[in-house]
Structure formats: structure tokens, C-alpha cells
Symmetry: none
DNA sequence: GTGGTCTAGACCACC
DNA sequence: GTGGTCTAGACCACA
């Protein structure tokens, strides 16, 4: 996992984002054990407390659970993961829509653009 | 204009991006005079050299031209602006496609998602 | 507010409990401004971060909201308060039921006990 | 027996409470021999004098008697135990009533709540 | 002044 | 070793 941070969002929120994406994309599969808070914090170059806060947030969202002595694990509840995936997709879609809106593209225009690219892909293959 | 920077891209490139977007979106209309390099650098809180480099890049791309004594101006060449818009849109589209790809959406899925939203908008109105 | 703590529950959780009760009981009415984090922490004799965590938890539960510079306020959403009241009541009821269960009282026995007391109250008045 | 203490009640009183509950609930049956003061104090992590005071209080209440050489025993007087049970129950009832009073429940409301739960239990079974 | 974030470092329970 | 809690103290944005 690459740990690069922006300055427009709290660190812990970006950590949540990163780990969540790893879970959603399957890089961290259901049931997988996460590294320890301390190790992850070292990796990311942040304070363990900051990493802890991020993981607790993920726990509250039901994507992760912790076992006292054994460590933290990705949930095995596929529904929770899929719901998070859906929410993230919607969020990305919306920010994309607004960004493209500034460039003068509305939904219809984007659909056209996508279909254009699709034909090209098929043409290439 | 808001000047917030990420750490994963050179400053000057982010400056180029920001100004380019302002031109493309019409916030800086064709023929408009840009503030002086020194003023823009102050605004953005960057070194004037960095801002200078960004503006030269925009000049190279034909979106801006400078007149020795009067300052820098947005191009009046609509074709250049439209071409930049097209390029930027494609770039954003691609990064969006790859991001959504990680979440399991391909072009067809995204088209469906967009059409879904479109119907909803019409239903709401 | 009295700040006395047990050792069987994290401090921050007890702080949540205390403030929640104050809101539910109306001691802190809807819309009321809470003292600043620092002041409350001083009052309670805890670290400001601990108090902060408690208040953020209340914020997540919708019982409190914060305004950047002005401070924190009790929600004006009566439904949220009533829902919290209901939940707290149920929780207290259950722990009471189990405690009385150890003494050999079941629901029916408790109802009898309560009715007994009720008659007595009426007799006294 | 779990030994966790609050800070709002003298230690010895909490010890009395704990042992009394054990007797009332039958965990310490009539006639059972209690461990020595020293052992009990160790278990609970308190000073033997404190434990001694608690046991003397229980003796005064007639729930425990001591035999010079053999140690301390739970009373075999069922009436005494029942009376203690009754008193404890009333005490718990009262503190419960006052706590629920703060949440807006009076005796009648609580009876309703209890009957509600009773029906549900029967429905579930 | 307000809330919010982050770090550093300590201590605890659990196994 | 693990997660969890707490403190102390710093810095920031906002108005």
C-alpha cells in the first residue's frame, strides 16, 4: 500500500479511505488479518494513535473487527463490503460528475463519451 | 481561486492544472489579463519561480500568451481552449475509469449507472 | 453535574453516559450551549482529549452538534433525544431485570412489587 | 466472585454488598464456610482490616456467624436471609425508580413497560 | 477564544 | 506480543 497524503483532509480520514479501498478492491480479502496498529503506523509514517483512530472508524463501519489479543481482521460479511463499495462508487461518481460539469459535460455527454471509448476498445480488439 | 496542494504531484504541475481549469471553465475568459507572476505567486503562497514555470508551460500549450509590457493574457483561440478541454476531460475520464475499475465497474457498468441517475433526475424534476 | 467515576468502564464512556443523561433528563435542554471542551474537562478532572472524544461520540449519536467557533450545542431534534431516552430506559430496565433476577424476582414478581408500592403511595397521600 | 469497586461508596460497604448478594443469591448457601479474612482480603485486593469490618457488619445483620476456631459461616436462618433479600430488593427498586424517574417513567409507566416485555417474551416462546 | 488534529509516550488487560 | 485507554502538550483554521 502506498502512503501519500494530501493536506486538505485529516490524516486519519485519508487512512480510513486507503484501508477501505484496499478492502473493497479485495487487496485485503474478507477475514484477512491486518498488520498491527503499530506496524501499520510505522509503514504509513504516522502516529499509532492516528492509525488506531482510523481503524476504529472502520470498525464502526463494520468493515473490520478486532480480537483482543490476536489483532484486527477484515469482516467476513460480504454485504457490508458491498454496501461500502456501492457508497464509495456513488461518491466517486458524484465528484466526477461535478468535475466534468465544470468542463461542460453533463450526464448525456459523458454517456456519449463512454460509448465512444467502448466502440474504440472493441475496434482495437 | 483556492490554492490547496497535494504532495503527489510537483507544485508547478498543480499550478498548471488549476489555471488551465480556470481557463477551460471560463472563469478566466479568452483575452482576459492574468495577474502578474508575483501577485499570483503571493496568492498561491508559492515561489514566483514556480508560478513562472507554470505559466510558461501554459504558454507552450498555447493557452496563454504574453505581451512584453502589458502582461499575460488568456488566448483568444477557441480551438486551443477546446482542445485543452477535450484533453483534460479524457485524462479525468481515464483516471475515473481506472478508479472505478478497482471497484469492479467497467465502461458498460458505468453507462448503466449514469443512465440510472439520469432517470432519477428526470423523475425528481 | 457530579463527576464521579467507576473503574469498570472507560472514562470517556462514562463521560458520554453522564452528558447523555443530562440531555435526556432536560438538565441540558435542546439548543443549550455546552461549556467548552477545555472547561468541561477541567470540571470533570480529565484530559481535554478524553472529554473531546466523549463529545464527538455524542455528536455521532446526533445528540449534540458543534459549530466551528461558537461551541457545542444540544440538538434541537426532539426525536433524537426521545430515541436516546427510550434506548437508555430499555438498557436500565434490562440490567435491573437481571439484577433482580439474581434475587429471585421475575417480571411478574416485579409488577406485583410495583403495584404494591403504588397502592401504598396512594394510601399515604 | 469479581471484585470491582466504585469510588462513590466506602470500600467496606461495597464488600458487604458483594458478600450479601452472594448469600442471597445462594452462591454462598446457608451453613457454608467462608474463606478466612486474610484469604478473602487477598482475593479482593483490599486490606484485611477492611474485609474484617465488612464481615463484622454482616455478622451484625445476622447473615453470618463466627465460630471461634472453625471460621465464619453463612447463617442457616432462612428468615434472616429472606429478610435481607427483601431489603436489598427494595433498595434496588428505589434506586431504579429514581433513575427511571429522571427519564420520565413513573410506577405506572414502568408496570406498562414490564407487561409489554412480558407479552413479547410469551410471543417469542 | 472555539473545536479539531496530531504526536509522543505511558499504562493496562489479555493470552 | 495484541488492542485499548489516557494524559500532556503542540499546532491549526476560523471569526
Amino acid at each position: 500500500m502506498e502512503w501519500v497524503f494530501r493536506s486538505d483532509l485529516p490524516l486519519y480520514a485519508q487512512l480510513v479511505e486507503k484501508v477501505k479501498l484496499a478492502i473493497i478492491s479485495g487487496e485485503l480479502p474478507p477475514g484477512a488479518r491486518l498488520n498491527s496498529v503499530r506496524d501499520l503506523a510505522m509503514e504509513a509514517g504516522v502516529n499509532p494513535n492516528t492509525m488506531q483512530r482510523a481503524l476504529q472508524e472502520l470498525e464502526r463501519e463494520g468493515l473490520v473487527y478486532s480480537q483482543r489479543t490476536a489483532g484486527r481482521f477484515v469482516t467476513v460479511n460480504d454485504a457490508a463490503i458491498n454496501s461500502a463499495k456501492r457508497a464509495l462508487a456513488e461518491e466517486k461518481l458524484n465528484s466526477f460528475l461535478s468535475a466534468m460539469g465544470e468542463l461542460g459535460y453533463d450526464r448525456a455527454g459523458l454517456i456519449a463519451l463512454l460509448q465512444e471509448g467502448e466502440e474504440k476498445e472493441h475496434g482495437d480488439s
